[in-house]
């Protein structure tokens, strides 16, 4: 009896007042997900924000709960790939990259390839894919730039590729050629290490 009472006592968690915006049914499901995420030492803020986004947009309970649950799962996946020390911004950016099509291998390789926070590199990867660059081209380009490019360089790169695409460039070609000419070798290698296709020689 005492054991049960103790267990119940430890289950009582102070609830985030912002979740009051959710209807009770949604709220209890979301709270449960948030609590279990906290238990796994995953950040809760992204989950709360996702729930609030759904609330503001008038989404129904099942949709909100599904979105929050999916995010919690993905946060766990990327945390495994990036390691325990990953910050919340890194994890959020990593989820975006994952959903853009980057494999967990890419995430792990990026961790090895780049010192300092990965937030911008991962964001740029996701943003490139959102602009139409194929996921493996985006991953290859970011991995190639990762060792030496500053965050600002990565942003420049992303903007440059987006401009190219808005002018009609084939997205994969733009990303590959730009990464190549940033002075990095092997930029057109795919993320899993295949050699690049050779461009045709000029007559």
């Amino acid at each position: 009896m005492i054991l049960v009472a103790l267990l119940l006592a430890t289950q009582v968690v102070v609830q985030d007042p912002r979740l009051e915006r959710l209807d009770p049914e949604t709220r209890s499901s979301v709270v449960a997900i948030v609590d279990s995420a906290r238990g796994m030492r995953l950040p809760s803020e992204p989950l709360v924000q996702r729930a609030l986004e759904g609330a503001t947009k008038g989404a129904g309970a099942p949709r909100i709960v599904a979105a929050v649950r999916r995010l919690a799962t993905d946060l766990g996946t990327v945390r495994t790939a990036l390691g325990e020390g990953a910050s919340t911004p890194e994890l959020e950016a990593a989820v975006a990259a994952l959903r853009a099509g980057a494999s967990t291998h890419v995430l792990t390789n990026l961790r090895t390839a780049r010192r300092g926070p990965l937030t911008m590199a991962l964001s740029v990867l996701a943003d490139l894919v959102a602009s139409g660059v194929p996921a493996d081209s985006a991953a290859a380009a970011v991995l190639a730039l990762a060792p030496n490019a500053r965050d600002a360089d990565l942003v420049d790169f992303r903007r440059a590729v987006e401009r190219d695409i808005s002018l009609g460039a084939p997205p994969g070609a733009s990303a590959a050629v730009r990464a190549l000419n940033t002075g990095v070798r092997d930029a057109t290698a795919t993320a899993d290490g295949q050699p690049p296709p050779r461009p045709p020689r000029r007559p």
Binding site: D156, D164, L167, A169, A173, S174, N181, P197, P199, R202
Partner: protein
């Protein structure tokens, strides 16, 4: 907004700005942005620096609008401000790598190898430009790309016409050489 899409001359727009209609300056910005932006990007060779130079020039032109003595030739006056602004940036940007400058026609095309070749040509062009001395590049761009008359170029750069002609001639000769070299890589 008070500005219609029918071509209102520069002189009228300047008059309105001077009368307090800031929105009329927006029409001038829209009118000259692409042309001046093109010059800045090719001259400086770095898109971010070029945009910064362009932005600064527009702002400076607005703030010193009373010194535009011939509002009908606002464009030429604005070019002069930009050319000078690009001269100061040129020195800073010299050590940075030059980025590609793409354009629509070079890039539309279905197959990957064609796109690569076009991008390489565009790159060769920019690299050849980068190898020119700044005063040669400036003269070449103003004459052949911006298609200004030598008299106009002389006015906004403060250089003599014969000196400008010589620079353009030498620029062409050098560019020929650079482009030929690039072909044989």
């Amino acid at each position: 907004m008070g500005i219609d899409r029918v071509e209102t001359g520069d002189a009228e727009l300047v008059r309105r700005v001077r009368a307090g209609d800031i929105g009329a300056y927006g029409a001038l910005v829209a009118r000259y942005r692409d042309r001046l932006g093109r010059y800045a990007v090719h001259m400086i060779g770095d898109r971010e620096d070029a945009e910064e130079a362009l932005q600064d020039s527009f702002v400076r032109a607005y703030r010193s609008l009373e010194r535009c003595y011939d509002p009908a030739r606002f464009g030429a006056w604005l070019y002069g401000i930009l050319v000078n602004r690009c001269r100061t940036t040129g020195a800073r940007a010299a050590r940075r790598r030059r980025l590609f400058v793409y354009d629509a026609e070079a890039l539309t095309g279905a197959s990957h190898p064609d796109a690569m070749e076009r991008l390489e040509w565009t790159d060769a062009v920019e690299r050849a430009l980068a190898r020119l001395a700044p005063e040669y590049r400036e003269a070449f761009l103003l004459k052949h790309v911006e298609e200004l008359e030598y008299e106009e170029i002389a006015e906004l750069t403060g250089d003599g016409i014969s000196a400008l002609k010589m620079r353009v001639k030498r620029a062409r000769a050098q560019l020929q050489k650079f482009l030929r070299e690039a072909e044989h890589v």
